[in-house]
Symmetry: C2
Subunit: 135 residues, 2 copies
């Protein structure tokens, strides 16, 4: 219950952030009726489509199973939407991560908190309002 | 209950049709968390985004309130997705209608069954697999 609420609150926060930036946002309903598992949130504006999987983890790493990453990538490929994993990091805020930033291990995909903090981008960069500084 | 089921079954059927055509499809969750009412279904493939409001009416006309049409148009404009109203017509199948095909009356937007049958397009045309015959 606590875990569910934390996730649901984070998702709601993300939706409001996207909406405030002028994107049309939707929360995806349970995928019972659809034939392909889909991301948590889809956000769109003309010329930009985002498929976002939303995570609120208080750990030193974030992991995603091989099966889930495969499904997210498939959905992104079919839809043409850019895929991001949005990690809400306690006391640091959101970082948007691309699948290719994760380590691909036999046990699944993972990324360390440290790497996410330094390599993840923020929403402004995702939606093209800020440019990313090349380091 | 019967009315709800009819609508839910029609929506499920539409989702499967879209998925079979190779589109990534999602059913939109109740809009409690989002700041803007959104369409029932969103379907995407690279270069094409569709926002679809799904209706299963067994009547001589289909009507949509001014408020709902305004919200759907706003969502479509913000998202860049093409808006269609998909009417499942008993014994005739689906017709996809553009908002501008509806009559705009003070009481709301409406279209007759006859006009929907002759002017509505089918899914193949919507997704660009068939071209529309100009009459």
């Amino acid at each position: 219950m606590a875990r569910y609420n934390k996730g649901a609150n984070a998702e709601r926060e993300l939706i409001h952030m996207l909406f405030k930036q002028g994107l049309a946002v939707l929360r995806v309903a349970g995928s019972g009726a659809t034939s392909l598992p889909s991301p948590d949130v889809v956000a769109m504006k003309p010329g930009l489509q985002l498929a976002i999987e939303c995570k609120a983890w208080n750990k030193a790493y974030l992991s995603i199973s091989n099966a889930q990453m495969k499904e997210l990538r498939k959905w992104s490929e079919m839809s043409g939407a850019e895929l991001y994993i949005a990690w809400k990091i306690p006391r640091k805020g959101w970082r948007f991560l691309k699948p290719e930033q994760f380590n691909d291990s036999p046990k699944g995909f993972n990324i360390s908190l440290k790497k996410a903090l330094t390599h993840g981008i923020d929403l402004g960069v995702v939606i093209g309002e800020q440019s990313q500084i090349v380091q």
